[in-house]
């Protein structure tokens, strides 16, 4: 089942694809630098993530996990190498691919005066995929469903700035989910959640998404925590992939 890909440091395993499938994520020798920095934030990354899988990317703070996600989404431009997102070249075709992705960023906390309600924020998740960004009745029903799914439907009309950190993180998760993504990118999704919520998301929500055909890539600095159905764990350190473990 497993094949092996030549990388810089060591051999990295990848899973073979079924006919007519494309890798959800492909990094081919990618190095990304921050503006004005001489040292790359990620160095010579080779990685392939198959569809309908759950990949966990772990590593200490500053190891390049978030940079990897932002490079994948075309928010950061790599200096070397090639990135493919859902089979589309980044950055040339990135906007097409982005519309099929859901993203939960690491920095989700909003100030108390934030003038948007929970419902509005989740609805924004659909704006990029709709003509002119206009939502119809059906879209608002999808928003309600997403809120219900993460258990915050009672907060729909509350200003987001008045919510706790955990509630705000669930709002952003609902925004990522409402898009019905083919690829879900989660950056430290459990950082503000309580044990019950973590367990629900890791053991029920994410596996059900994968069953429905979604690919999940989750970044975490907590190496002890592994969600159910995780098929690949990628360990990063100092901007490099140092280990890849298949289930």
């Amino acid at each position: 089942m497993d094949t092996w890909l030549e990388g810089e440091v060591k051999l990295k395993p990848v899973q073979e694809l079924e006919k007519n499938e494309v890798y959800a994520v492909e990094f081919q020798g990618v190095s990304t630098y921050y503006f004005g920095e001489a040292k790359p934030a990620i160095t010579n990354v080779w990685l392939k993530i198959p569809p309908k899988s759950l990949t966990l990317i772990v590593g200490p703070n500053g190891s390049g996990k978030t940079t990897l996600l932002e490079t994948l989404l075309g928010l950061l431009k790599p200096k070397f190498g090639r990135v493919k997102l859902l089979g589309y070249d980044v950055p040339e075709q990135v906007n097409v691919a982005r519309r099929m992705c859901g993203y939960l960023p690491q920095d989700f906390m909003r100030p108390p005066g934030e003038p948007f309600s929970v419902k509005e924020i989740v609805g924004m998740g659909l704006a990029s995929n709709k003509p002119f960004g206009k939502l119809n009745e059906n879209d608002w029903l999808m928003v309600e469903e997403a809120l219900n799914l993460v258990g915050i439907d009672d907060l729909a009309n509350r200003p987001v700035g008045r919510l706790s950190g955990g509630q705000q993180q669930k709002v952003m998760l609902a925004r990522a989910l409402v898009r019905k993504p083919k690829l879900l990118l989660l950056d430290e999704p459990f950082s503000a959640l309580d044990e019950t919520s973590r367990r629900f998301i890791a053991e029920t929500l994410l596996p059900s998404l994968i069953e429905d055909g979604c690919t999940v890539v989750m970044v975490s600095h907590d190496v002890s925590f592994k969600p159910k159905g995780c098929t690949m764990t990628v360990r990063m350190n100092s901007g490099r992939i140092v280990e890849v473990n298949l289930r």
């Binding site: 989404l73 003038p115 509005e120 990029s128 002119f132 960004g133 700035g161």
Partner: protein, 277 residues
């Protein structure tokens, strides 16, 4: 004759006021105040240039403002200088150019009526043509916001996330900055170049004190700016003072009242919370 002038000034003040209030809130939320600042000064420099080369100050102001709005982002990317620094550098250049154009313009410089209109604004500059153009701009602005509000609000909330979801953040930002430039150019005639920037941001600051809902904030800023415009025009006619200055004083008074109300509101909220605890 006077009543016609007052009516024109009030109509212009109402439209320009609403546009300014709205623009101020959007620029503040998007963090592009410095770009709006540079664009506004480009408009001022363009208007001043018209004194030297002839032509309509609005047209030259508009051209320079739009060019600035369009080139600032790519220029910053190309030079690899942060956008704020690029904007403020352009602002300084436009300021210098404005004074040079005013000094080298033919005739008695600072005392001339045309220069006065650019620097301090004048209700006499509000003509029927001006009102028609201002109405067109208002309609375009409102249509743009209404049609694209879903994506604009996404950018206002978190531009990076909006971009990650496939919204063309740069295009919308440049469009809004270009509209901000156009608003500045047209408001310049009533309030003058020195005061137009404060009118973009004082109503936004007032509205942020009063509401926690983005739609209400945009609406409140427009209404507050409109109120200060009507008050300012009235005061200007009554006391024979420059109309722009009177509008700014009106806007600043509203900000003071809004800030005071906000303090009481916060105190009341704190009391409620401590009572619940």
């Amino acid at each position: 004759m006077i009543s016609g002038l007052i009516l024109n000034a009030l109509l212009a003040g109402t439209m320009a006021g609403s546009l300014c209030g709205c623009t101020g809130v959007l620029c503040t939320r998007m963090g592009v105040n410095t770009i709006a600042f540079a664009t506004a000064h480009a408009a001022l420099a363009g208007a001043a240039l018209s004194l030297v080369v002839g032509g309509d100050p609005i047209v030259l102001g508009l051209v320079l403002a739009l060019v600035t709005a369009v080139i600032l982002g790519p220029l910053s990317d190309h030079l690899r200088i942060p956008l704020d620094i690029t904007s403020m550098s352009m602002f300084s250049v436009y300021n210098a150019l404005t004074f040079i154009f005013l000094i080298i313009s033919p005739g008695a410089t600072l005392a001339s009526e045309k220069v006065g209109q650019i620097l301090w604004g004048s209700v006499l500059a509000v003509t029927l043509n001006y009102l028609i153009v201002l109405t067109t701009l208002t309609v375009i602005y409102i249509l743009f916001l209404v049609v694209f509000w879903g994506r604009i609000s996404s950018i206002l909330f978190n531009p990076k996330l909006a971009e990650a979801e496939g919204v063309n953040v740069k295009a919308y930002t440049y469009a809004l900055v270009a509209l901000a430039g156009a608003v500045t150019v047209f408001t310049l005639r009533i309030t003058g170049g020195f005061l137009v920037f404060s009118l973009l941001f004082i109503p936004a600051a007032s509205a942020l004190q009063l509401s926690e809902n983005i739609r209400k904030i945009v609406l409140a800023a427009s209404l507050l700016r409109l109120t200060s415009a009507i008050t300012g025009v009235g005061l200007s006619f009554t006391l024979h003072l420059p109309v722009g200055s009177c509008i700014v004083i009106g806007a600043a008074t509203i900000l003071a009242v809004a800030a005071t109300l906000s303090v009481f509101k916060r105190k009341r909220l704190l009391k409620t919370i401590s009572f619940q605890i």
